[in-house]
Amino acid sequence: MPNSQVVHVIDDDVEVRQSLAFLLSTAGLAVRVHESAVAFLTALPGAQDGCIVTDVRMPDMDGLELQRQLRAKKIGLPVIVITGHGDIALAVEAMKAGAVDFIEKPFDDEVLLGAIRSALARHAPDAEKEGRRAEIQGRLDLLSERESEVLDGLVAGKPNKIIAYDLGISARTVEVYRANVMTKMQAASLSELVRMVLLDGGVR
């Protein structure tokens, strides 16, 4: 990994900021911490290339607004969003705004480091990423038509009852389909499922 690349950590919580700096430095990454999105944008002209790891809910300017500002300024630093409020609607919004990944706090170090590494290496053809995509596609292919429909509803952030209504089946039935989807997709949580589909299942 080129040394010129820096991970910009933006979080209004000083302990989270510093602990992230510590973790990333033990993994050999160069880190710069910023206490707010505004502070980061102020420091931006001199900022080095790399990627951004940012919290979503912050006073003054939230992570989604930061993404909009970056896009307006045509700054192409990849953004990884981390949040303590992992709701699906927020994940979808962040992804649509161009985030390369969405990770719930607290997270396993390997999950974050993996996301950072692939963000930093975004230009290189990524065999690993392709492999991952194929793997997830393979799991998606296992789903029955009904299960796919339930998955679509889940990714859209709909609760079971709404999905049931949309599909004209009972909520209990949706629950069983949902359990099957989670098992077949090997997803540990709903947000992981959504992340999987949004990041790697783009071919659907």
Binding site: F22, L23, G84, F107, P159, V176, N180, S189
Partner: protein
């Protein structure tokens, strides 16, 4: 004036009086707002008020002289003559002057709840009974609806209180948990560069500590997700395995307290549709409560965890203890938030258990153990492996 003329005149006066009385009765029967029925001592209908005609769907002409029993459903229909006879012989009042809620049957065969009050009058050696009837259909519907609403509201308020708490907790606690995990995982990375036995042991311990912080985050995430959406992450899980895991966690370090644990697991109670972590929380909560109460109050300390498969595709899980038991007034309110018998307790544990179990489509309750102590029971939905749901459900 001849005597006959006197008698005729008297008769005319009497007839007029009688006609006037009948007219008054008819007008009362036409206008009395409550349904009213008069029968004789053999149960034959003498008259029916206009409201009663509407209520039962019969006109006066159709039922005049017929037995009142045709306005009631079985078994009263068959027994009503007996009721009358018994009263006339014994004079024992079972309904007269008391009033009671009974069921009436309309001409079309449908039934409805009604309040019946009976008055009695004697005239010329004959008994008459007057029934005043109030239709309770609306009232009962209102009451049922009120009860439903009330339980919805209690459920919602419990949900909202928990939801707010979970959401606040999630944010406030996830931040320090993130910091803890980051520091620990960073330490593990640094320790990987150090050789030697102690470094290896440290690395392992630090890694395990970080995983526990992640587990705490997982619990909060699920709790929040489920209070926000009312649904957790349900999978097909093995109930015996769930129980084994939960009791292992809950029983950590209790052996010293002389607690004997036994399992009575029904082999038919195997797979359930459940959020593993949430149901484990329920089990851990119940087991810990059982242990605490036994240590506090009893020298006999038998903990029994049991399962039972029911025919309606639910399974029942029970946790029983030999503690001091529960006072009935506590037992009734036990699953409400902030009700506790512990000196140090928020009274949230069982409330959360109830919310979790109910969200799983089950129920939770407490029974007294016949030989002392308490049994907590809850139900879960049983399922089969790879179940393909049908649309016709």
């Amino acid at each position: 004036m001849p005597a006959t003329t006197h008698a005729q005149k008297d008769l005319a006066v009497l007839t007029t009086a009688l006609e006037a009385a009948e007219a008054r009765l008819r007008s009362i029967m036409q206008t009395v707002p409550d349904a009213m029925i008069i029968i004789d001592e053999r149960g034959r209908i003498e008259s029916l008020s206009a409201t009663a005609e509407q209520l039962f769907g019969y006109s006066m002409d159709e039922v005049a002289g017929k037995n009142i029993k045709q306005l009631m459903p079985t078994p009263h229909r068959e027994q009503h003559d007996g009721y009358l006879e018994r009263y006339l012989t014994t004079g024992e009042r079972r309904i007269i002057g008391i009033g009671r809620v009974v069921i009436g049957q309309r001409k079309d065969g449908t039934t409805f709840p009604m309040h019946l009050t009976i008055g009695e009058l004697k005239a010329a050696e004959k008994h008459y009974f007057t029934g005043f009837i109030r239709d309770l259909t609306d009232q009962q519907m209102t009451e049922n609806r009120l009860k439903e609403l009330q339980s919805e509201v209690t459920h919602m308020s419990r949900f909202t209180a928990l939801g707010e708490m979970a959401s606040t907790l999630a944010h406030e606690i996830n931040q320090p948990l993130t910091a803890i995990t980051n520091y620990l995982k960073g330490c593990r990375r640094l320790l990987e560069r150090i050789d030697g036995e102690p470094a290896l042991v440290l690395r392992d311990a630090v890694n395990k500590a970080a995983d526990q912080a992640l587990r705490a985050g997982d619990i909060i995430r699920r709790l929040r997700e489920f209070v926000a959406r009312g649904e957790g992450d349900r999978r097909v899980e093995s109930l015996p395995k769930l129980i084994e895991d939960a009791s292992t966690l809950a029983l950590l370090g209790v052996k010293e307290n002389g607690i004997a644990v036994s399992y009575r697991l029904d082999p038919a109670a195997d797979l359930v549709l459940a959020d593993r972590i949430q149901i484990q929380q329920v089990l851990i909560n119940l087991i810990r409560n059982a242990i605490e109460i036994m240590i506090e109050s009893s020298s006999r300390r038998d903990l029994e965890i049991g399962t039972l498969a029911h025919a309606d595709r639910t399974v029942e899980v029970s946790v029983s203890d030999t503690g001091s038991g529960l006072a009935p007034e506590v037992a009734a309110r036990l699953f409400q938030p902030f009700v506790t018998t512990k000196r140090k307790g928020m009274g949230l544990g069982l409330s959360i258990c109830r919310t979790i179990v109910e969200a799983h489509g089950g129920k939770i309750w407490v029974d007294a153990r016949p030989s002392g102590g308490t049994i907590f029971r809850f139900t879960l939905r049983a399922t089969r492996e790879e179940e393909e749901p049908t649309r016709a459900e």
